[in-house]
Symmetry: C3
Subunit: 447 residues, 3 copies
């Protein structure tokens, strides 16, 4: 069965415009005070639902998920540090990064020396506020610019955090696009970080816009987009959906997709699965400077998906990886750090990776003895003797040469190092010309 | 069974002289107007038959060969372009490249503007005449130096091509050298190009001189040398011999063997067959600067041999590959572009690749526990303590170490990166000394 | 079953002191005139036995060992070359390298021209005495500095070698440390070279100090240390122990371990055995600049252990390989060429390679669905958001991620490129925390 390609020149052009929409969305979501539970998380999900309607599930605090427990819900009303004279030197209203995530309530006066262990800064970037959390260890603290910290005079200070930690629920959101088969592709983006743009408003934006693109389209696979907090959120989702996990054939975690770095693909634990081959083929042939990362059990939620008892075929797409750019997990990861171009390109790259899985298929060459005469079918230039051969003709020859029923379009594109779309286009032309037929089990069902 | 080596110092010396003979043959064949059918092709085959008698088969026009049909025969009596004043500005008599291959007859007066679409030149090499063909699309045209084209004044011209396209036949030629086994090695060279020296008078010359060398020699394999036009010729030969193709165990396409570039080996489609291993071992250890090319379904007739329905183990030897030197398919690919040294070296390289297949064999070490005492057998220098070990002794040690019956001489030569002949010589000495015996199934019949 | 690690900070510190002890031992052994048989060999074994008691076996001259025969015993009482005037220009008393090993007795006057074929020097290093032997070809000769050779005036000389070649025996020495299993690790060092320090007093010293370390320790494997002459000695030992060879699971040949070069590991013939993986993992992660050498049937006694009829999993550890430093097999390979630091480091490297085999084990993750919550078990820092992850935590995550029962600690250390000890430590902590359990067949018995 031929599966028409998703991406054409129109899509490429659209990606620029979609990049701008994504950056606008990021600017809108940026100020919201998200955490792994709570009102900011719900507000974020509500805004995404305006783009594509998400199904929301609230999982009560205290629910056991594998080795973990869904924590109490956290919210902050107000938080500040002020001098004895009432001057606020740190204020949650100015940046939600100022408060350590899940800080316990506090309202106390103390000396600077007593306060100091609760203050976090980045001496190597004196103007940036770091991002810190303490989800599972009762604690409180403030993050602030090192320049501010260093300027604090000795004396007494009042530290106030009016937070609430109480039973509530953790918010999961998902969107399912039904395809021809119930076999699923999972797209996951974490949504628990407060005012951090690349990590992970970029991932949320790309994911919701991929969903928007697929919505109107007939696909082979069913696509499941999951938005959840990092770690506890992906674990909660996995625990709640354990019975249906075997239906997931491929997956991607999306994050850090708006900076100016090259696109990185991080392999699955196995390293040689279809998602690995599709992602690396697309990136290496069409997105210059792309890099491939070995799997390691560190990073984002691919850690959970690739744990030995879950073992899903989930890779990860990012631009500059976590921890490899100085703005990571600081106030410098704000919307100005991102560009619409990078976001649009990331979206297009994701789309093409998914396309290379969804539109993959196997064919058999119906004229396998020697090359068929392409010239009389209008598939080959009529005059011979030239030094070169156009890429289009090479694609036809590769498709014919390797279509023995065992190789798929992706296999052939990978071996020839020609773009997936070019090979897929050649397959369509050759099928049209009666030279190729779908292989008996073209659904790749035995992969 | 021990198989004596083919190449010794005498052969190496002879290769220089044979290089000169080949260049002389190329100069003789160069002016002949060859095409994929016709009198020039027959004249070429007749000249080669003076060196080694070829069996000639004429396949009638109209014969179906797989997806193709043998075309009508083409010949040219006269062809020129002249000015209104009767001055010939292009003349087939001066170079048979001047006429596009398979040009239909024409005799017409027209303006330069009307003539222009029928004229082909190479602006980037203004003094060279390009080579163009139009075998399967009815057309006519002239190729000429860009300098001449640019100098043509406006005005009226007369274009005359007195060609004949009529039922006839396509000429195949082959020579079979019988070996101890009916298993075959196929050597193929295309013979359809007009006045082009490297492509492929060099291939014809090397092939016919390999045949001459083998003629007087007892070989293990049967060698089949096929001379045929490119594409339609190899297809015609394959279709005519389809039943006996399974007997072909290894093969080489020969072309572009006279220029000064390094020797290139292009892999089979599978890429890891004995011919691949033999060719690359010989080139990488004995022919400095050699390069290995991945298979691609583009190039010469290896395309047909490696098509999925034919699937023969055929690689290709060239010096600079097609399309990678500017003289390719132009009048600059003439005998002065070639050298006797390069031709002789190419011949020797081919011979050594075939030798590494033909003389390969497996042995078992009869003293496999530790090293046998080579010194008392005169196979090891009697004084010890030196820093180095001569290559000759290393070869003996490798042969003993890996001769467990599973590894052949080629396997051992490949692993040790020592020349095939050195390992084969060590095998002969060790057998002589009673330390090795042929492995039970030394014929490599299970490969 | 958990196997506690051998090497801790104390061991690392001790290695420096042990390096000094080894260098002192080498200085003591250096003057002894060793050969493949004879009194010097026995004196050397006796000195080593003072460190760890060795079991000594004397194998009579004439004993058949595979393709060889144990030679007669050789000893030298006196040897010199003197001028007609009685001036000794070469004297065995000054260096035992002056006499070609196994020189036959001689006492003759002759001209310099007649003497010349019996004199060996190194023109490229005019002050060094070369090392030469002629074990199996009756001969006599002297080695001397080229500067001395060149200074000899014409005239008559008297050459005297009072040597004895007569039936006796070849001396083997070994030490066995019993472990929990009868499966063995073989450590081999040759002990037949006269006054040469790196080759192989360094190997003897490291081997005997490894034995000393293991003596007081409970190990998984049984360790067999063998000290024997090169080639004939290893062959004699193999022939005498042929029946028990199948119990040897891993092995190392030790030599050239005191120079300043990087540590080299030479692979087994198979190249992918546990000893290969353990050695290369330890060297590549913990000993900067280390290099891996392909197997070749040349070098030291690994040649015999890796012969096809013996086929033991024996690799080799050296610093600069044989033949790759100019001092090799000359009088410049003396104790001043070595350093205590290099010897200590070599000892530590050997120990860690053996540790990576002995303490290897497989576990299963008892919380395999997602990551278990390490924080509440005190195994993870409580505050999140940092850019980096400490190596210690990475080791925990790798261990959990890959402990599916199939991967051992060494497998996981190799994949993560983290030190074996770090991964093993993580395994111990996780087992303690109830997150890991030994795999059912954790003994790696099926390797």
């Amino acid at each position: 069965m031929t599966r028409p390609l998703w991406v054409d020149e129109k899509t490429r052009t659209a990606s620029l415009e979609i990049g701008s929409s994504m950056l606008a969305l990021i600017r809108e979501l940026y100020p919201i005070g998200r955490s792994i539970t709570g009102p900011g998380l719900r507000a974020t999900v509500a805004r995404l639902s305006e783009i594509v309607p998400l199904q929301v599930t609230e999982v009560p605090s205290g629910t056991r998920v594998f080795d973990w427990t869904v924590p109490d819900e956290w919210s902050v009303e107000e938080a500040f540090v002020e001098t004895a004279g009432g001057h606020r030197v740190v204020d949650f209203n100015e940046s939600n990064l100022h408060v350590v995530g899940y800080s316990r309530p506090v309202d106390a006066e103390m000396t600077l020396a007593e306060l100091r262990p609760h203050l976090f800064s980045l001496p190597e970037h004196p103007d940036w506020i770091p991002y810190r959390t303490s989800y599972y260890s009762p604690s409180w603290g403030f993050c602030l610019a090192d320049r501010v910290l260093k300027s604090l005079p000795d004396g007494r200070y009042r530290a106030v955090i009016r937070s609430r930690i109480a039973p509530g629920s953790l918010t999961l959101a998902e969107y399912v696009h039904r395809g021809a088969t119930a076999e699923e592709v999972l797209i996951f983006a974490h949504d628990c970080h407060p005012s951090l743009a690349n990590d992970n408003l970029s991932g949320l934006s790309v994911a919701i816009h991929l969903a928007a693109f697929l919505r109107s389209r007939a696909t082979h696979y069913t696509y499941r987009f999951v938005f959840a907090p990092a770690t506890i959120g992906s674990l909660t989702w996995l625990a709640a959906n354990e019975a249906s996990l075997p239906g997931i054939r491929h997956g991607l975690v999306l994050s850090l997709l708006g900076d100016s770095g090259p696109i990185h693909y991080k392999e699955t634990r196995a390293g040689n699965l279809p998602i690995d081959r599709a992602a690396w083929h697309v990136l290496s042939t069409e997105f210059g400077g792309s890099k491939r990362l070995d799997f390691e059990p560190w990073g984002y939620d691919e850690r959970q998906f690739n744990s030995p008892g879950i073992d899903l075929a989930v890779g990860r797409l990012t631009r500059t990886p976590n921890g490899e750019f100085p703005e990571y997990h600081t106030s410098a990861d704000n919307p100005n750090f991102l560009s619409a171009d990078a976001l649009g390109e990331s979206w297009l790259a994701c789309l093409k990776v998914l396309e290379a899985l969804d539109c993959d298929s196997r064919y058999v060459n119906l004229q396998p003895k020697g090359e068929p005469q392409l010239g009389r079918r209008g598939l080959y230039r009529s005059m011979g003797g030239y030094q070169d051969v156009p890429a289009r003709q090479l694609a036809l020859l590769w498709m014919l040469n390797l279509s023995d029923g065992a190789n798929s379009i992706l296999d052939i594109a990978s071996r020839s190092r020609l773009p997936f779309g070019l090979i897929a286009g050649a397959a369509a032309d050759l099928q049209q010309a009666g030279l190729l037929a779908p292989a008996p089990d073209a659904g790749l069902g035995d992969r």
